[in-house]
C-alpha cells in the first residue's frame, strides 16, 4: 500500500516536472530567459501613436528588444527601451520610426541603421569591435555623443507614428481645398 | 516515566475541581461545581443525557476552558497552563471516546502504536512487543492487522482502550463506554475497566448513564444535574439517598423532578385553539 503510494507520487512528480520543462523550453523561447543582459536607451518622439509597453523593437524585422515603458517628459512622449546586450553596435546616428505590422497589426519601433562614425574615421569596423568604445582614447574628442547606442543614451532622431485618422483628415482637407480653389 | 509516577504521589486527589463555571454561549452548563477524584479509584459520573458530561471530560482534558474556577490535575491548574505544558500533562491522561475514535486509515496495530511512535523513540521490535501486549490485554491481539472498519462496535472500543493505555497514563476518562453495546461486550468492558484499575492502579473516570453496570465497579459515584453535583457517595450510599432527583435517576422513573413533559403552555388552551 505505502510502496504503491510512493511509486505513484514519484510518477506524478516526474510528469509535473516534465510539464514544467515543456512549458519552459518548448513553449517559451529559451532566449527570453536572460532578462538581465539588456541595456537601456531612451527616445523622444512627437507622437507614439498606439505604441505600448512591451512592444517590440526591430531592426530589419528582427526583434532586438522591447519597450519598458512610455511616459511624458517636457510634454513629449519619452520612451524607455531595453535592447538586448548582444546588439551593442547600433550606430548612434540611427533613426527610429514607429511602424505597424500589417494593416491592422501591432505597432513597433523600427531602427534604421545610420553609419557608424568610427568607420568614417580611419578605423575599420573590425578594429573598433575589438576595443571598448569608452576606453578608446581616439574617440575622446567626441565624448558627448558616443558612437554606438549605450546605457542611458537619449535618441532624438525619431519620426512620429503615422496616425491613420490624421492622414485621412489631411487628405480630405487638402482635397476639399482643391475643390474650393476650382470653384 | 518513573519520575512522573513519583511526582504524582504528592497529592491524594488526582483531579480536583473548585467552583468551576462553564457557559456555552449564554447558556450555563456548570455553575460553581466541585468535584474530587481520589487517586487509584474508579469514579462514576452519572446524569441524564444532554447535561454536559462529555463537556466535563473535555474540561478536565483542557480542550475547553471554563469561565471561572479551578481544575487541578495533580496540583496543576489545567485552564491556566501554557500550551506546551498542557501537552506534557496530557501525556499522563487519556480519554476513551464514545465512538472509539480510531484513526480509520490505520490498522488496529498502527492505531495502538500511534501514541508510542509520536512520543517515544522506541526501536521497532520493542514497539511491536509493547503494542501486542496492550492488544493482548484487551483480547484483540488476533485483530492486529484488521482495519477499524472491520471491527464491531465493542471491538473498536476495546482497541481504543488499548490505545488509551499505550502510554501508561495516570488517568483514563471513559466517555459513555457502555452506550450502544450488547450485554456481552458491555460485560467485557466492565471487566476491562476493573482490571485496568486493579492491575495498573490507574485512576478511572467513567461518564455514563448505565447505572447498574457502573455502580458494580465504581468506588465512588457522582450524579450531575442542574449544572452541578447533586449527590455523591458509594453505590450503597446513593441507593439510600432520599433525594427525589437521585431516586428518579437511579430507578429510571418516567416522571419526577425531571418532568416527563417538555415545558409547554397549558394543554387545554393549546388544544382548544384549533377548535375555535
Amino acid at each position: 500500500m505505502s510502496r504503491k503510494i510512493e511509486i505513484m507520487v514519484g510518477f506524478f512528480m516526474i510528469i509535473a516536472i516534465c510539464s514544467i520543462l515543456f512549458l519552459c523550453f518548448r513553449v517559451t523561447d529559451v532566449s527570453t530567459f536572460s532578462q538581465n543582459s539588456t541595456y537601456r536607451v531612451y527616445a523622444i518622439f512627437d507622437n507614439v501613436g498606439g505604441l505600448k509597453a512591451r512592444s517590440p523593437i526591430k531592426i530589419g524585422g528582427v526583434v532586438i528588444g522591447r519597450i519598458a515603458n512610455i511616459t511624458l517628459k517636457n510634454y513629449k512622449p519619452y520612451v524607455t527601451m531595453d535592447i538586448d546586450a548582444n546588439y551593442d553596435r547600433i550606430p548612434s546616428n540611427s533613426s527610429l520610426s514607429i511602424k505597424t505590422s500589417g494593416l491592422l497589426g501591432e505597432q513597433f519601433i523600427a531602427i534604421s541603421l545610420g553609419i557608424a562614425k568610427s568607420s568614417e574615421n580611419e578605423l575599420d569596423i573590425e578594429d573598433a569591435q575589438d576595443r571598448g568604445i569608452n576606453e578608446d582614447p581616439s574617440v575622446n574628442f567626441e565624448e558627448k555623443i558616443p558612437d554606438y547606442f549605450e546605457e542611458g543614451f537619449v535618441i532624438h532622431n525619431t519620426s512620429p507614428a503615422m496616425v491613420i485618422e490624421d492622414l485621412i483628415g489631411q487628405f480630405l482637407f487638402s482635397s476639399g481645398n482643391a475643390k474650393d480653389k476650382k470653384a | 516515566m518513573t519520575e512522573l509516577k513519583s511526582n504524582s504521589t504528592k497529592f491524594d486527589n488526582l483531579v480536583e475541581i473548585h467552583d468551576m463555571s462553564f457557559y456555552r454561549g449564554a447558556r450555563p452548563i456548570y455553575k460553581n461545581m466541585n468535584l474530587t477524584v481520589p487517586k487509584g479509584k474508579i469514579i462514576a459520573i452519572m446524569g441524564p443525557s444532554g447535561i454536559g458530561k462529555t463537556t466535563l471530560l473535555k474540561l478536565i482534558g483542557g480542550q475547553l476552558k471554563p469561565q471561572s474556577g479551578k481544575i487541578l490535575f495533580d496540583g496543576e491548574n489545567i485552564p491556566t497552563l501554557s500550551r506546551s505544558r498542557l501537552y506534557e500533562v496530557r501525556k499522563r491522561m487519556s480519554m476513551l471516546f464514545q465512538s472509539g475514535a480510531l484513526f480509520t486509515d490505520l490498522t488496529v496495530f498502527e492505531n495502538v502504536a500511534y501514541p508510542l511512535r509520536e512520543h517515544l523513540n522506541l526501536p521497532e521490535p520493542v514497539l511491536r512487543n509493547l503494542v501486542l501486549m496492550k492488544l493482548q490485554s484487551v483480547g484483540l491481539r488476533g485483530a492486529a492487522n484488521l482495519m477499524p472498519s472491520e471491527l464491531s462496535g465493542g471491538m473498536a472500543r476495546r482497541a481504543a482502550l488499548a490505545r488509551a493505555i499505550a502510554l501508561d497514563p495516570d488517568l483514563i476518562m471513559f466517555d459513555e463506554p457502555f452506550a450502544g453495546q450488547d450485554p456481552i461486550s458491555m460485560g467485557v468492558i466492565v471487566k476491562l475497566i476493573a482490571e485496568i484499575n486493579q492491575s495498573l492502579g490507574l485512576t478511572c473516570i467513567v461518564v455514563t448513564h448505565d447505572v447498574n453496570e457502573v455502580l458494580s465497579i465504581a468506588d465512588y459515584a457522582y450524579i450531575v444535574a442542574e449544572k452541578h453535583i447533586i449527590a455523591g457517595g458509594t453505590s450503597e450510599e446513593l441507593r439510600q439517598n432520599d433525594d427525589m432527583r437521585v431516586k428518579q435517576f437511579l430507578e429510571g422513573l418516567a416522571d419526577g423532578p425531571v418532568p416527563f413533559h417538555y415545558p409547554a403552555e397549558d394543554y387545554l388552551t393549546d388544544l382548544s385553539r384549533g377548535i375555535s
Partner: protein, 258 residues
C-alpha cells in the same frame, strides 16, 4: 433601517472573526519547529490523495479544453486567414487564464471537497479530539501536511494541464486541420514570454492553491460534527473556493497585465 445596518455590521464582524480563526488555524499548523522525519511519510500520502488522484480529471479536461480551443480558434482565425497564429492563441489562452483558473476550479471540486469531507468526518468521529488528548497537535499532524500537499500540487497540476492542453491543441491544429507544425510551434515560441506569461501563470497558480487549500481545510476543521454539517461544509468549500479563485484571478490579471 437600523436593523439592516446592524445585520450588515454583524455579518461583517462574523466574517472577520471567521477569517481570524482561519488565520490562527493556518498559523498553528505551519509555524513551529519542523519535524521532517515524522512529516515526510504524511506528505507523501497527502501528495497521493491530493495530487495523484486529481491527475486523471486534470489530464482529460486539459486535453479536451486544448482541443476545443484549437478548433474554435481555427474557425475564427481562418476567416482572417491567420490560422498560422493558432498555436499562439491556444498557448496564451491556456497560460494566461484557462490553465490556472480551470485547474484551480477542478482542484477545488476534486481535492478541496475531499479534504473538507475527510477532516469534517475526522472531527465528527472525534479523531481530532482524541489526537489532541494523546498530546498530538492535530494542526501539525492533520492540517499541515494537507496544506503543503495542496500548495505544491495545484501548480504541478496546472503545469500538466497546460502542457496537455497545448499538446491537444497541436493535435487538432497540426494533425487534423493541417497547419504546418513549424508555424504552430514558432508562433507559440515567438509570442510566449517567459516572465510575462509563464512566471505570472505560476504566481496565479500558487495564489489559487493557497486560497483553495486554505478554504477547504478551514471548512473541514470548522464544520459542525454532524452529517448535515459536513455536507454543508463540503458545498461551501466548492462554492467559496470557486468564487475566490475567480475573484483573485481578476485582481491578479489586472495587476499583471495592466
Amino acid at each position: 433601517m437600523l436593523n439592516i445596518l446592524a445585520r450588515i455590521g454583524q455579518s461583517g464582524i462574523n466574517f472577520i472573526a471567521l477569517f481570524g480563526q482561519a488565520g490562527i488555524m493556518l498559523f498553528g499548523a505551519l509555524v513551529g519547529k519542523p519535524e521532517f522525519k515524522k512529516q515526510f511519510p504524511l506528505w507523501v500520502k497527502q501528495f497521493y490523495f491530493v495530487g495523484v488522484q486529481s491527475l486523471t480529471i486534470i489530464v482529460v479536461s486539459g486535453l479536451f479544453i486544448g482541443m476545443v480551443l484549437a478548433l474554435q480558434g481555427y474557425f475564427i482565425l481562418t476567416t482572417f486567414s491567420a490560422e498560422a497564429s493558432l498555436g499562439m492563441l491556444v498557448a496564451l489562452a491556456l497560460l494566461r487564464e484557462l490553465g490556472p483558473v480551470v485547474a484551480g476550479l477542478l482542484f477545488a471540486g476534486r481535492a478541496g471537497s475531499a479534504l473538507t469531507a475527510e477532516i469534517g468526518l475526522m472531527k465528527a468521529t472525534e479523531q481530532l479530539s482524541s489526537m489532541e488528548m494523546m498530546a498530538v497537535d492535530p494542526l501539525r499532524r492533520i492540517i499541515a501536511p494537507r496544506f503543503w500537499a495542496g500548495f505544491f500540487c495545484l501548480p504541478f497540476l496546472t503545469a500538466i494541464f497546460i502542457a496537455v492542453g497545448i499538446l491537444g491543441g497541436a493535435l487538432v491544429g497540426v494533425d487534423w486541420k493541417g497547419i504546418d507544425s513549424g508555424f504552430f510551434w514558432s508562433s507559440i515560441q515567438n509570442n510566449v514570454d517567459w516572465w510575462h506569461d509563464t512566471v505570472n501563470c505560476f504566481i496565479k497558480s500558487f495564489a489559487f492553491s493557497i486560497a483553495a487549500t486554505w478554504i477547504a481545510l478551514f471548512n473541514g476543521y470548522n464544520s459542525l460534527p454532524t452529517s448535515e454539517g459536513i455536507s454543508k461544509a463540503t458545498t461551501s468549500t466548492v462554492v467559496y473556493s470557486s468564487l475566490v479563485i475567480l475573484g483573485l484571478d481578476f485582481i491578479l490579471t489586472s495587476l499583471m497585465f495592466s
